[in-house]
């Protein structure tokens, strides 16, 4: 009764549909917003149905509340850290006249007691209003973030997809030819991929493909010719990690008794591999997706800087040099929310996929 919690009529077609949407964005096909909304609504409805059907409502609710609390704590801690810092952003070499300083502090509500500021901030956060930037005068933080978020999300999603697309087959291949030359070759590639810094790969690729062959663009984010190199640089590193993981996991599963049984009853190697080994050895890949996404976020800072992609990472780096505290706060929050949401999704998917997991609510 517990096996196969994920409804096959629901899961795979939906995954393929989302994949199609992502590929469409890669080729800059414009997708009307109602498609996005209906896809999201259908997914949510399906997830809700599964939750009820398998009695996971309490578990899902608990994880949701936990995630909300995590975000609230991160928001409060970051706010307080940045607010109690000595030496505000308006301290310059030349001391400002006290009236001007007072006026500035009044404008940004820095003259009020800390508790009031904190209350205002949290109320604003719930309403999606993060206040005004110190550097870009008159611009709201939420506006800046909303503008730069799409590029970052696109880059991250493409890189993640590329990582699975390369990493899983290569990992399986290496395990299939365990201790023979394809295994050695692939694992040598993988460990190089894990070790190589993006600011070594990216320059070499740019010199070859942008300045040499002229195929791709070396900077900005404006179409497939701009997407390929950053995605490659960010995704291959993650792919190397995934390949190592899949290889180890497949080698582990191959040792299991049910594989020996399968072989004994005469199943073909490919049936064994795809139907029995692969399904079970991909569970670690799913659980590892949280740290993997965290790694991709970290990598994206450098990649956005190298390729001058106008994303959130670039804004965070700039906001630090500008001492634009509201923007630092905003970017920190966006990244944390992305990671928390991804971890939540991974946990829930894991609970759906692996019937052995005990939901200790």
């Amino acid at each position: 009764m517990m096996t196969g919690r994920l409804n096959l009529a629901f899961g795979p077609p939906l995954a393929i549909f989302w994949l199609g949407l992502v590929v469409a964005t890669f080729f800059d096909v414009s997708i009307p917003s109602f498609v996005w909304w209906s896809a999201a609504a259908y997914t949510l409805a399906g997830a809700f149905w599964h939750t009820i059907r398998y009695g996971m409502l309490a578990y899902v609710g608990k994880r949701l509340v936990e995630s909300l609390i995590t975000v609230a704590v991160i928001a409060s801690a970051t706010f307080l850290l940045l607010r109690v810092l000595p030496g505000g952003p308006f301290d310059s070499e030349k001391a400002l006249p006290p009236e001007i300083k007072a006026a500035i502090e009044k404008k940004y509500q820095l003259d009020q007691p800390l508790l009031v500021q904190y209350g205002n901030f949290m109320v604003g956060l719930v309403q999606g209003d993060l206040g005004e930037s110190y550097k870009y005068l008159g611009r709201n933080i939420s506006e800046i973030l909303a503008e730069s978020l799409p590029a970052s999300v696109q880059l991250g999603v493409y890189a993640l997809l590329l990582a699975y697309l390369i990493g899983i087959p290569f990992g399986v291949l290496a395990a299939r030819y365990h201790n023979r030359w394809p295994d050695h070759l692939l694992m040598a590639l993988a460990i190089s991929g894990v070790s190589v810094p993006s600011f070594l790969v990216a320059p070499i690729l740019i010199l070859i493909f942008c300045f040499g062959l002229g195929w791709f663009e070396p900077a900005l984010w404006d179409g497939p010719a701009y997407y390929i190199l950053p995605t490659w640089v960010l995704g291959t590193r993650a792919a190397a990690v995934i390949a190592r993981l899949v290889r180890a996991s497949v080698l582990e599963v191959i040792k299991a008794d049910y594989i020996r049984t399968g072989r004994a009853k005469g199943l073909s190697e490919s049936t064994l591999l795809f139907k029995h080994v692969l399904r079970n050895s991909l569970i670690p890949v799913l659980t590892f997706s949280g740290p993997l996404i965290a790694g991709i976020i970290t990598g994206s800072f450098v990649v956005e800087q190298i390729f001058a992609i106008p994303g959130i990472g670039k804004h965070m780096v700039l906001s630090v040099s500008n001492r634009d505290y509201p923007l630092i706060l905003g970017t920190t929050l966006v990244f944390s929310v992305i990671l928390v949401v991804c971890n939540l999704l991974v946990d829930l998917l894991y609970a759906y996929v692996d019937p052995r997991i005990k939901l200790n609510v």
Binding site: L81, L85, P197, F199, L200, P203, T298, F301, V320, T331
Partner: protein, 296 residues
């Protein structure tokens, strides 16, 4: 096992034998030792001073006088690379040691006491895990930089870097040590030690710690390259160490600006970082296979 196994030897000796047979790991270890020596004797080895400018020899390609060329201020790249090794290795190793001390004590306390204390202590660790590493690094740097602590800007940048990397690094060790302590705590020799009346601190230090040292060393070997990489990331983004300080990340940041015309300026620090990371990762894999057989 060969006939040597008959002699009977400690767990450590067995691990050492397994490690010695792994040629790749041995070569990586030798390479890392050489890097450490270069880092230690940077001033004696480097052909020029790392911050001396030769204004008549700006942006030279690699040649016989300057083996790796010169940068836009006429500084010798090889010397800067050697001093970069000094800084990168120092940052990587020092922060790994700080993370070890803080993380291991935290994890050991949480794992040993268990129960509610453990739950609360680990909640905090989980919270730090919910912030992406580089974001946390940047936040710690921002907070530290705005404190009026040091007058010497170079010392301040270095301390900030060490602090930020340690704040990020201890979490991994705390989680790992806690998990190990929780496991080992159940074993019979711990029970016997307790029955003999040994205090909690003594049991953890004398009985549990030596038995989980293998996995700890393995995690540390992976911690050092990740610290070096984060340092270079931060410096590359212009948020870490600043010139005239030289680390591989600082050099990459400087080299990046003239990529099209003078690619040697970014390729050489990139290659240095790549080979060092590769050596650490290969050595770590070897150590894991040799000393931590369960996780193979």
């Amino acid at each position: 096992m060969s006939s040597r196994a008959l002699k009977g030897h400690s767990l450590w000796y067995g691990g050492w034998l397994r490690l010695k047979r792994n040629k790749v790991a041995v070569f990586s270890g030798i390479y890392i030792c050489i890097l450490c020596l270069i880092a230690l004797f940077a001033y004696q080895i480097s052909p020029y001073a790392f911050d001396e400018q030769y204004m008549d020899r700006i942006l030279e390609s690699p040649n016989l006088v300057h083996w790796l060329g010169t940068d836009s201020l006429g500084r010798d790249m090889l010397s800067r690379l050697i001093h970069g090794a000094r800084m990168s290795m120092a940052v990587g190793i020092i922060t790994a040691i700080i993370s070890l001390i803080v993380g291991a004590s935290y994890g050991a306390v949480a794992g040993w006491i268990g129960g509610r204390v453990d739950a609360i202590m680990m909640r905090f660790v989980d919270l730090l895990y919910s912030v992406p590493t580089l974001v946390l690094l940047i936040l710690v740097k921002v907070v530290f930089d705005s404190m009026p602590l040091f007058t010497n800007p170079e010392l301040k940048a270095l301390t900030g870097m060490l602090l930020a990397l340690s704040v990020v690094g201890w979490v991994t060790l705390a989680r790992m040590v806690r998990g190990q302590v929780l496991q080992v705590k159940q074993l019979t020799y711990v029970e016997s030690a307790r029955a003999l009346g040994a205090s909690g601190g003594r049991i953890v230090l004398r009985h549990i710690f030596p038995n989980i040292l293998g996995p700890i060393i393995v995690v540390l070997t992976f911690q050092i390259p990740s610290n070096i990489l984060y340092e270079s990331f931060l410096s590359f983004l212009g948020l870490g160490l600043q010139p005239p300080f030289s680390s591989w990340g600082v050099l990459a940041n400087e080299g990046w600006r003239s990529l099209r015309s003078y690619p040697h300026l970014i390729i050489s620090p990139g290659l240095a970082l790549f080979t060092a990371m590769l050596a650490f990762n290969l050595l770590g894999d070897g150590l894991r296979d040799a000393f931590d057989p369960q996780s193979r």
